[in-house]
């Protein structure tokens, strides 16, 4: 959904996000919705500036989100609050599951298919009954699940058994009911610390704002993603919204609030190791990637939109290798590198720590203080031969060799660090032109306002000229290792005294063109698999349909959804799956919530948004067994990316840690898992445990408090862009640690005094901010204390402070490989932290202070 669309919401649940603080501009639409009568619910461990705007604030224990969301799902099912016609028609509720599928309720916290030796699931048994299977894509060991199976690869086709009465005990609806039956308000109180009356208030607000006449929205951010079960938290929200009919409709949906400008863009045209542009998978070093033909077969389901896979991958290869990509050489498929292991940030940083990485480029990032376990990350930097940092200021990453805490603590020494550091000044966003793709897939072009100062250059300048020089070098050595570089097209026009590449040419390449006569294509429906088109990112196709017509530049908003302002991929759709805003017969569910509908006179889909459906496919269209791709999707199946065209309450393919969300405790937790006592944390998560990446026990008397990190409005992430500016630095000049008055009494700490926060990984000193905005969590008759720290500080800049990320652990959620930074354990000790080598002894003493408990199952 789009942020503007929030004004159409009748209720908004904000959870895992402090939207008012970190998305203050988008939050204006929440304020507008509130003014129109929508109820705003904020669930968060802290009472923050978002809670201050909400009608209801519910403090919950960090890391217990799935229990609360699961209880909302259970409430909807038990009280029959679901939108029955939507659920029956548009979701897989009626689909019958295989007899060998077993739930966590049957197997003590595991789904069927668990392989304890490999620590991963074999997901065959999660498939629909009657669906024939292709290769199980979850077998890829090194990948994130999304890249290899985007939801269709495992299933051969869309054939399966169904019971539209939802009575069959093996149908998804009944499985869902049983799965969430123990997620009750009482369980919420015991696990989340949210009282039953508060839970019922939230459930009532959300459910009464859903149905044919109303819609409710959910907004989340990294407060959900940065958990060892982050993807499953978001899945819980998707299940809730599908049951309530809040997907594809105005004011409904799940809004992922992205963390920086264009971080959406950097997933679409990715900086990720296992995804190619447009969510095409990166080939792996294995048999289904050995030829283009096999690669296409592995990733093309018979039914659904991904059947077009061949057109997108061939057009991408043509954009990379131009005339050098021919049908005879499989369009240069062999030149694409193959993924051999986990090359996510977390994965390669471990390799760096082991001395296996020679050089590193750091652009738009400050891992020396902003990445998890930054203490370990800094030490890993010292193992590099060379390091290139491009930034607007000299960040901590560029200076790690000089004034990192490890120098003062005697762990590293400038004299013995061999890393050669190159610092390049980077142009700011007003000093270059280009595109941002924001949180709602909206691509907006921005102009250059001023020339960058001195030697500062844009990223496109740096990368273009770096590529040009590398190609020049490679052209003198035409051996196999340089084949890809020599084949690569790199012919952008440069202009001006700085020889700046023309970024609109890059955008045209992204849009795509015909290879014979270089005519821009009008959209991804024009793309071909025979090499006659080239396209840099199929989902963006249509952004530059004609020379001189850059839709990302458009600033003439024609309607409320913002058509005419920028370009929202795909095809300028503002709300995805908007076919679901109409009934199966094509009429709007209600006048108040109409968006797109079937015009029976015109015989096409019309409405207030670009329909996310083949325009002329009638609602009563039924495919036959031979149809392929979009033709194999019936006229009343809105979710066209899935082979079956249905929204997935249950995920048969594409996830690595389960087809349904189940509550697991964080990797470090003050309690045992009440839901599944046999299984403490997400079995598929990777702890990456090492001597420099240790964990506390769960629970652990040495580390009794829950630690959560967050961001303030006044700073930007690790602070490189804000701590260097006096007008921002003065607003939040010093690291503080928010704690409740109750905890302050226990610790005998006054507001404003210094405390030392310590975890098994590191320690920081912070001012105690004692405030009633943090409240103890009462669970099962016991009180638990949470401490929350913003993570913006480091050892350079106008204002300095300890790096809170030193406390975090390197860990990987199994699907997308993200660390858990929102729920860990720590201790808080009054007073300044020790300096020098004593700081390390301090941690070791605490670690040794009592015996670790090993009697619990993990």
């Amino acid at each position: 959904m789009s942020q503007q669309d929030l004004v159409n919401s009748d209720a908004i649940l904000i959870m895992g996000s402090s939207m008012a603080e970190n998305h203050p501009v988008g939050f204006q639409w929440v304020m507008e919705a509130r003014a129109r009568g929508a109820k705003i619910v904020h669930v968060d461990p802290r009472f923050n500036r978002t809670s201050a705007m909400a009608d209801v604030w519910a403090p919950l224990r960090a890391g217990s989100d799935i229990v609360l969301l699961g209880a909302l799902i259970n409430y909807v099912l038990e009280n029959e609050k679901y939108f029955r016609e939507y659920v029956v028609s548009y979701t897989n509720a009626s689909v019958i599951l295989r007899d060998d599928f077993k739930d966590t309720e049957d197997l003590g916290g595991f789904f069927s298919g668990w392989n304890e030796e490999k620590k991963e699931y074999k997901t065959d048994s999660w498939a629909y009954k009657g669906s024939s299977l292709k290769k199980d894509m979850s077998d890829h060991e090194a990948s994130g699940g999304h890249a290899q199976d985007r939801g269709g690869e495992k299933l051969e086709d869309s054939v399966f058994e169904q019971d539209k009465t939802l009575q069959n005990p093996r149908c998804v609806f009944q499985v869902l009911k049983r799965h969430f039956a123990r997620y009750t308000p009482e369980m919420v109180e015991k696990v989340c610390g949210v009282a039953p009356d508060v839970f019922h208030t939230i459930a009532d607000i959300f459910c009464s704002a859903s149905g044919p006449e109303k819609t409710a929205a959910i907004c989340y951010a990294v407060g959900w993603t940065q958990h060892s079960d982050g993807v499953q938290i978001i899945r819980s929200a998707a299940i809730l919204q599908l049951l309530l009919g809040n997907v594809g409709r105005p004011g409904g949906g799940v809004l992922a609030l992205r963390g920086h400008a264009s971080i959406q863009g950097s997933t679409d045209i990715p900086t990720l190791y296992d995804v190619l542009p447009g969510y095409l998978p990166m080939p792996f070093f294995e048999e289904d990637s050995d030829t283009l033909q096999r690669f296409i077969e592995a990733h093309s389901p018979r039914a659904g939109w991904w059947n077009n896979f061949d057109k997108y991958i061939v057009s991408l290869l043509k954009s990379y290798y131009g005339e050098n990509a021919t049908k005879e050489n499989n369009f240069g498929f062999d030149w694409l590198p193959r993924v051999t292991s986990d090359h996510s940030h977390l994965g390669y940083w471990v390799e760096m720590a082991e001395g296996k990485v020679e050089g590193l480029f750091v652009m738009g990032q400050n891992p020396a203080v902003g990445a998890p376990n930054s203490r370990m990350e800094r030490k890993a930097l010292s193992r590099l031969k060379w390091l290139v940092v491009r930034d607007m200021v000299e960040t901590e990453t560029a200076r790690f060799w000089l004034d990192a805490p490890e120098i003062e603590r005697g762990e590293l020494s400038p004299e013995t660090i061999d890393t050669e550091v190159f610092l390049f000044p980077a142009a700011g966003h007003a000093e270059k032109e280009g595109c941002f793709t924001n949180t709602q897939r909206l691509n907006q072009f921005h102009e250059k306002a001023v020339e960058p100062p001195g030697d500062a250059r844009s990223e496109s300048w740096f990368l273009y000229h770096l590529g040009r020089r590398l190609k020049e070098k490679a052209s003198t050595d035409r051996s196999a290792k340089n084949a890809a570089l020599n084949a690569l097209t790199w012919d952008y026009t440069v202009a001006g005294p700085m020889r700046e590449p023309k970024v609109e040419e890059v955008l045209q390449e992204i849009n795509g063109w015909t290879t014979a006569d270089h005519q821009l294509v009008s959209g991804y429906r024009d793309l071909k698999a025979d090499g006659s088109t080239a396209c840099g990112c199929w989902i963006y196709s249509g952004i530059f349909p004609n020379p001189g017509e850059n839709l990302a530049r458009k600033r003439e908003s024609k309607d409320f959804y913002g058509h005419g302002w920028g370009f929202a991929w795909p095809s300028d759709r503002r709300i995805l799956y908007n076919r679901a805003s109409a009934r199966p017969d094509g009429a709007p569910w209600s006048e108040r919530k109409k968006l797109v509908w079937w015009d029976s006179a015109e015989k096409k889909w019309v409405g207030n948004d670009v329909p996310d459906f083949t325009l002329t496919k009638p609602p009563d269209y039924q495919p036959n067994d031979q149809d392929k791709g979009d033709d194999a999707i019936a006229g009343d199946r809105p979710f066209i990316m899935h082979p079956e065209g249905l929204g997935r309450l249950f995920v048969p393919s594409g996830l690595k840690d389960g087809p349904l969300p189940a509550h697991y405790e964080p990797l470090e937790s003050p309690v045992r898992n009440l839901l599944y006592p046999e299984r403490q944390y997400n079995p598929a998560a990777n702890l990456m445990e090492r001597p420099d990446n240790r964990y506390a026990e769960s629970p652990d008397p040495r580390f009794p408090y829950i630690l959560s990190t967050y961001r303030l409005t006044e700073h930007h992430t690790a602070g490189g862009m804000s701590r260097s500016l006096s007008h921002l630095a003065e607003l939040q000049p010093e690291l503080f640690c928010e704690m409740s008055p109750e905890l302050a009494t226990i610790l005998d700490v006054e507001h404003g005094e210094f405390v030392t926060v310590v975890s098994p990984r590191g320690l920081v000193q912070a001012r105690a901010m004692v405030t009633a905005r943090i409240t103890p969590i009462y669970m099962d008759g016991k009180s638990f204390h949470q401490v929350c720290l913003p993570y913006h500080w480091g050892y350079t800049g106008l204002v300095k402070g300890d790096a809170v990320c030193d406390l975090l652990a390197l860990s990987e959620e199994p699907n997308v490989r993200i660390m858990e930074s929102k729920a860990l354990l720590c201790n808080v000790i009054p007073g300044h932290r020790p300096t020098g080598a004593a700081a390390l002894e301090f941690i070791e003493q605490l670690m040794a202070s009592s015996e670790a408990k090993d009697e619990y199952p993990v």
């Binding site: 939050f27 304020m31 500036r49 201050a52 003065e730 939040q732 905005r773």
Partner: protein
Amino acid sequence: MSGTAFLTDSTLCIGCKACEVACKEWNNIPSDGFDWKGFSYDNTGSLGHSTWRHVKFIEGGVVAGLGGNSPDLLSWGFSSDVCKHCENAGCLEACPTGAIVRTEFGGVFIQSDVCNGCAYCVVACPFGVVERNPDAGMAFKCTFCYDRQKEELKPACATACPTESIKFGDIDELRGEAEDRMARLKQAGFNDVYLYNPQDSSVGGIHAFFIVRGDPERYNLPPSPEVPTTYLRKGWVSAAIGAGLMLAGTLFAFGQDK
């Protein structure tokens, strides 16, 4: 009164401080220094020579299940303070050099090239807005973005505000809008909203009015702001009458002795 005005609606403020930063950027004001004040999330403290917009953070009790801006409970209030640009401005009345003038937009403007740094305006301001910069030796405060208004631009703070908590416009229209907002808020159950716009005291009306929750003194807004030169005139008259009466009494007493 005529000219332009600010309407700052605290019920819409999310405490983002964009107004503070926009003001400092546009007017090129130095930072206040990097001291952690420990007062909620406020580290700029108050209006002063280097802070012309200031977001106040008013912490109240927190009750689980009731957010701060629900009609029932006030928990963490934010409000962006600014010079009130009084109709009868204490600073302007007190200024001996004529450095402080009233502009065509109704705002009160300090001409720093005329200011001699005597700081009479500082003590004469009933809101504690004006402050002397000890280094520059002159008094500074909000200019009402006179330079922007001359170019028919909104002041920087109102332009940057993401939630329309700071509205800027014609003073009469904004007064009407303030009344409308008050009615809407009361209808929504915000029974304690208060429109801070003192017109009966000696300041004679202000060009920056505020919608706040509950008692305005919680927001450091004086219930009855007075212009010293006007207010003290009454005081001097009372004192003179008192002195006269005492003198008369004394004379009368001595007269009795004779």
